[in-house]
């Protein structure tokens, strides 16, 4: 084992490889920052550049870049409410309000530290658990996946505690939108009205861009002024403050990382689910749940730790079984095969040094990404002081390009526009956009796994599978406990 660890480290021990990794991290941050350019697109673009290169060089670049994309996405989520990737959705909920409060640099500091620690945790999990993880992954089937989506959907009730009816309406509409497209169970086209482009369902990226980014630009123009309207924190908001705050929340970082790694290990759920679940967990365990959505640092800590820890977790099924856990991992799997590395059980038995090398790349890539982000944070914070009118045309242009480049379809630009208008009015009338997006992301998985689970285990499948039952109890407890506690607090306040 120790010889494999040293061999893995030795393959990266050169200034040239570290420089390549640094360059990869920088590219990754830019791709993450620009909406619509996801990790899979970045990998697809750069695979030809590393084709034929030695495995340590090609992986240092590709994986270093892939590990940095998430943090790049969180920077645009914090500064402009534009989640760079779909896995940064939850970072918008509290990151952008922090920017509005003039605390953008602090928020980037929190996101960077949480991402770094989450990424390191994910890399450690990858290195330690790969040889022993197989039985754990096999425990999860459609019934457990279904219950995990229910855990995610139950977050809607917690997120919208003050305006529960509006929150449930928003979540319901999100679910309805997720049902558009081909039904994989019966093979029939639902709510497509004969349009072929709707057969694949509504693409998340234009919806997210419209609902959050473009709607925010409309709001910014209508409201006037700049993003950071409350500038009293500007002088005090530094990256160092953010790092301190993140270290104070180290327990939450650890829990968020565990959630991220676990979700990453399970193929088919993805980083968006990890991000949302971690946000819900942060909200549930917070001492100040009322401040969530208004700039609570815990709302950044949990999701950012989770989406970076997910990378290490997602590499486990990709490397051990050749099963990619996400779109990005599928492209990475292709890259592994192209450069002559065949994922499968032999990775654990014969190529353990490569597994450790990949773990080190994930860890070092995260360190580089965080360093780059921190160096730029104070300058980036100044962007939030630019008058909205001047920012609006640039951000609008980038958003519409981002909507288009995901699939190369003009219809996605129209989708972004429709959801921008919807997002603006949802914000104006206090309907939770977070609830909408959670339901949209989980809706397809929820229905698909429900039907498969019913076919496999019958209608009462939840009670037949122990992990499902545990998850059901978790949902019940997680919904009821906060309500009971708030009632208790109300009663105590009256007395």
């Amino acid at each position: 084992m120790l010889s494999s660890i040293l061999a893995g480290l030795y393959q990266l021990a050169s200034v040239k490889i570290l420089a390549i990794m640094f360059f990869g991290s920088f590219i990754g941050i830019i791709f993450g920052f620009l909406p619509g350019l996801s990790g899979s697109i970045a990998l697809a673009i750069f695979i030809p550049f590393v084709f034929g290169k030695p495995i340590n060089i090609s992986m240092a670049f590709l994986l270093g870049m892939h590990a940095s994309i998430m943090f790049g996405g969180s920077i645009s989520a914090i500064l402009f409410n534009v989640p760079g990737t779909s896995q940064n959705i939850a970072t918008c909920f509290d990151g952008y309000p922090m920017s509005q409060n003039g605390r953008a640099a602090e928020a980037i500091g929190i996101a960077g530290t949480s991402s770094l620690l989450g990424g390191l945790f994910g890399a450690t999990v990858l290195a330690i658990s790969l040889p022993v993880i197989r039985p754990f992954i096999m425990l999860f089937g459609p019934a457990e996946f279904f219950m995990l989506t229910i855990v995610g959907l139950s977050m809607i009730a917690l997120l919208t505690a003050g305006t529960i009816v509006k929150g449930l309406i928003a979540g319901g509409v999100g679910l309805l939108v997720s049902f558009i497209g081909m039904d994989y169970i019966t093979g029939s086209a639902r709510y497509t009205f004969g349009y072929l482009i709707l057969w694949d369902g509504i693409n998340f990226i234009p919806v997210i861009i419209g609902l959050f980014a473009i709607a925010q630009m409309i709001e910014l123009y209508v409201k006037g002024g700049s993003i950071a309207s409350r500038t009293n924190h500007i002088g005090k908001s530094t990256v160092i403050n953010g790092i301190k705050v993140a270290f104070l929340k180290r327990g939450l970082i650890l829990r968020g990382s565990i959630i991220g790694s676990l979700v990453g290990m399970i193929p088919g759920l993805g980083g968006t689910v990890a991000n949302i679940l971690a946000y819900g967990h942060a909200l549930q365990t917070s001492k100040e749940p009322d401040t969530f959505g208004k700039g609570n640092p815990e709302g950044i800590v949990g999701p950012e730790a989770a989406n970076n820890a997910k990378e290490g977790g997602a590499l486990i099924p990709t490397l051990a079984f050749g099963i990619p856990g996400s779109q990005g991992m599928a492209v990475l799997l292709g890259a592994f095969i192209m450069i002559g590395m065949v994922p499968g059980p032999e990775m654990v038995t014969e190529h353990l040094d490569i597994v450790f090398m990949l773990s080190f790349i994930v860890a070092i890539g995260n360190i580089f990404a965080t360093g780059i982000g921190f160096l730029l944070a104070n300058q980036l914070q100044k962007l939030t002081m630019i008058p909205g009118k001047q920012l609006v045309p640039i951000i609008l242009a980038i958003c519409f390009i981002g909507s288009f480049v995901t699939n190369g379809r003009f219809s996605d630009v129209i989708v972004a526009l429709i959801f921008a208008v919807l997002g603006y009015f949802m914000k104006r009338y206090d309907y939770s956009r977070a609830a909408f997006i959670i339901a949209l992301v989980l809706g397809t998985l929820f229905e698909r796994y429900y039907h498969i689970a019913v076919r496999l285990y019958g209608s009462f499948f939840i009670f037949k599978r122990p992990i499902s039952l545990i998850l059901l109890l978790f949902v019940i407890i997680s919904i009821t406990v906060p309500f009971v506690q708030s009632k208790k607090n109300d009663r105590n306040n009256i007395l």
Partner: protein
Amino acid sequence: MKKINTSLIFILIIIFISFGFIYFGLDLPFRSRVIPFLVALCVLLLAIIQMLFETLPVFSKKEIGKMDLFNTELIKMKQEKMILRKGKVENNKNREKRLLIILKWILILIIGIYFLGFLVTLPIFMFLFYFIECKYTCTKALSITVIFWMIIYLVFEAYLRADLYRGIILMSIEGLV
């Protein structure tokens, strides 16, 4: 003229959407329609409840207003409230006006992209926006536009080869349509 409550219109749109999902799902196989049907029904019920929440307090306020017509304290408070409301109405009018302006700009951008594509529309849109909306000088607006266009071109077209949408006019000229 009585002011239309726009939040109620928003709820009515949600009710309309839920009805749509129920109606258009009727022809689908049972397995395909059952979950959308149940969700749409729940949304419909919740939207009706929300509509009641938003309309009932309006009625009750009117009743209170009628009952306390000769209460001077209340009249004073009402007058103060009316002044505040007047300011709010003016603010709202301003907001609606600005909303229409930005939506108009976005529509121009989308229509432009549809006909002329990204690379032609974006510089025209940016120049006009900075020149008309931000009241920049011609030189300043032009220089920002040129810099931004060059970045977009270099990053997306030259480097990433993203093949940005060219618009139906250019595509028909190129014989792609």
